[in-house]
Amino acid sequence: MIHMGKFLEMLVRNARTLTWVMLALMAGLVIADVLIPTGYGRFPWDTIGGFGAFYGFVSCVLIIVVSKLLGYALLYRPEDYYDDALPRDESANEPGQTPEGRND
């Protein structure tokens, strides 16, 4: 397990190299998708090479932007928003009680 931790640390140290490998892989995928026909033609976008990449990126950005906007405009509340409705618990200050609750 210690080795596993060291191995992960090594990966993190080489994050820059890994990023380039990843980007090359992604470029390769798009090129492959343009060159290799997928064999599907049920939707107009099935035949567009690299559409998966485009849709994935757009979906990601859209999900983050729309959700965060919804959050800040409408849905976010302070963390203690519902706390006034909590039952009074006499044991709340017992030793061994973490704020996250007992873990067993």
Binding site: M1, M4, G5, F7, L8, E9, V12, M22, L25, M26, L29, V30, A32, D33, I36, T38, G39, Y40, R42, F43, D46, G50, G52, A53, F54, Y55, G56, F57, S59, C60, V61, L62, I63, I64, S67, K68, L70, G71, L74, L75, Y76, R77, P78, E79, Y81, Y82, A85, L86, P87, R88, D89, S91, A92, Q97, T98, E100, G101, R102, N103, D104
Partner: protein, 568 residues
């Protein structure tokens, strides 16, 4: 059909009976004996389920009803297998826990879930349905925090509503058809919708979903594993059995898939984030049920199977982090991959599975549901489900692990999770990879023969592009995707805030109106009393004692009057 006590018949022992009776003995044992017994009992349960072959194994008449507690076919068996498997895994994960209430109720919960899938009639189904609710709430309450008490009560109330709707639907169904057999619903009208909504509440279909994300993050670390497996997936099973091809469910399912994704962006509690992704993933299953084609139904059943396993890995990973650090929020975690590398790696296997990376289990099941939408030329549904797929990787595969295990150093120095937790995660993670590499093992269990190959060039290229470019988006927007120390309102706001406020308002306004009415009445009464006092009181004109002299005077006046009249 009428052999009383036929729960053990023809050599078939109802696995639920075995598990419930076995669970009741747990409190009699202690320490190592108890741990060994729990493992043996869960293995016996798995064996009893595995031994079950398709057929009617138990049926008897009771109060004029034909009860069938033992109906097994391929559809019920695929669910029973994975329920039993996750019971064993959950047992190993919770081996260190010393709380008999949790052990017993978790097993009764598992037994009830299997009871639902083996129920051939609606009354047996209803009984096990309610038993699931009553057993599972203890897995929330035994966290023993004020939050979990309150969340448990809300959980109970919502499921009580689901139970009442279901019961009302069953009664109407019986009066309409004269039968309680549970097969595809062949009726229309209120009974159809009552039963459907009863099932939909347990499947966490928006807007009836908030009980799940409210309660699961407040459950015990180990209880959440059982919760994430049984309630929603028995609901998927009963929808598969009763409502295949219900068009409404296609759209509700696609909305669900995205709903979970949007809220997962906003979630800060790691188990709440995962709970929102249960809703998102069950969305694929609900949509599959709605499409109703053979490939869609196979996709739904297989996705339920793989989902239970990878969701368990994810919940176990998140649970291990909470267990070791005492923290559950993204804003308070970070940089612990060095200290919990095994937990991190096993979690990532679950994350790759839920994200449907090729060679992981989600890829062979989720793409089947998406493919079913493509076969039917449902472009919008396809786009919505695919977008949700990108969102799934974004949260469970990138956001949660990045801000929990990597990211900024939170200063936490936890130890690696205990061996039993890692072993349980390892077993579940093994199945995630095994099914991804060898999908035919799972496809053999599915209700109808599978004519689907996930590993076409088109699928693999599409999925890899979709996921990796989602990753690109994540790292470009890294600054904005972290957790915020906030909670987000969901539909539970209606019964946690709006309804109490309305009740408060009605009390205030109603109280004021009532006081007004009483005061007006009082005032008119007072007026009447004053008038009466004026006339009849001690000083009143009608209460004066008139002297006899005045009577004589009046008699004289009358006499004088009559005399006058006489002479006129």
């Amino acid at each position: 059909m009428t052999e009383p006590g036929a729960l053990v018949s023809g050599g078939w022992l109802h696995p639920s009976l075995l598990l419930i009776l076995g669970a009741l003995l747990i409190p009699l044992l202690r320490d190592r004996m108890q741990q060994g017994y729990r493992i043996l009992l869960s293995l016996a349960f798995l064996w009893a389920v595995w031994q079950t072959v398709p057929g009617i194994h138990a049926a008897f008449g009771f109060l004029g009803l034909d009860l069938v507690p033992g109906r097994a076919d391929k559809l019920s068996l695929v669910f029973a297998y994975v329920f039993a498997l996750i019971t064993v895994i959950g047992t190993i994960y919770s081996l260190h826990v010393k709380d008999n209430v949790q052990h017993v109720t978790a097993y009764i919960y598992a037994a009830a879930a299997v009871g639902v899938v083996f129920a051939g009639d609606l009354v047996t189904l209803y009984v096990f349905w309610e038993l699931m609710m009553l057993a599972s709430v203890w897995l929330i309450w035994r966290r023993r925090t004020p939050e979990s008490y309150a969340a448990g009560f809300r959980y109970l109330l919502v499921h009580a509503v689901s139970g009442v709707l279901l019961l009302a639907g069953i009664v109407l169904y019986y009066t309409q058809t004269g039968s309680i057999a549970f097969n595809q619903m062949d009726i229309t009208g209120p009974a159809f919708y009552l039963i459907l909504v009863g099932f939909m509440i347990n499947a966490a279909v928006p807007p009836l979903h908030a009980w799940l994300t409210d309660a699961y993050p407040e459950a015990t670390i180990t209880g959440a594993i059982f919760l994430s497996a049984f309630t929603t997936k028995t609901a998927v099973y009963v929808l598969l059995r009763g409502f295949p091809g219900t068009e409404l469910l296609v759209w509700l399912g696609a909305i669900m898939a995205l709903w979970g994704v949007v809220y997962a962006v906003l979630a800060n509690d790691i188990r709440r984030l995962l709970a929102y992704h249960i809703i998102s993933q069950v969305g694929y299953m609900v949509a599959g049920v709605g499409m109703g084609t053979a490939i869609a139904l196979n996709g739904t059943a297989s996705h339920a199977f793989t989902h239970i396993l990878y969701k368990a890995v994810l919940f176990m990973g998140a649970g291990a982090v909470i267990h070791m650090t005492g923290k559950s929020k993204l804003t308070e975690l970070g940089g612990i991959y060095r200290y919990m590398p095994m937990t991190f790696l096993l979690y990532m296997i679950g994350a790759f599975s839920i994200s449907a990376f090729p060679l992981f289990s989600g890829f062979v099941s989720k793409t089947m549901v998406v493919e079913a939408a493509a076969v039917d030329y449902r472009a919008w549904i396809w786009l919505m489900l695919t977008m949700a797929s990108a969102g799934t990787f974004l949260h469970t595969g990138l956001k949660l692990p990045y801000f929990t295990f990597m990211g900024k150093d939170s200063g936490l120095r936890p130890k690696e999770a205990p061996w039993n937790m890692l072993l349980a995660m390892g077993i579940a993670a093994f199945f995630c990879v095994f099914i991804g590499v060898y999908p035919n093992w799972l496809y053999n269990f599915l209700p109808s023969p599978v004519d689907y190959n996930a590993y076409t060039v088109g699928h693999v290229l599409w999925e890899l592009q979709l996921l990796l470019f989602t990753g690109l988006g994540f790292f470009l927007l890294l600054k904005y995707v972290g957790g915020d120390a906030k909670i987000s309102l969901d539909t539970d706001w209606i019964y946690r805030r709006a309804l109490p406020r309305i009740v408060g308002w009605v009390r205030r306004v109603g109280g004021a109106a009532w006081t007004g009415v009483v005061r007006t009445l009082q005032r008119s009464l007072e007026g009447a009393v004053v008038t009466l006092m004026r006339h009849h009181g001690p000083q009143g004109i009608l209460a004066r004692t008139w002297p006899t002299g005045s009577m004589v005077l009046w008699v004289a006046v009358i006499l004088a009057g009559s005399l006058l009249l006489y002479y006129l």
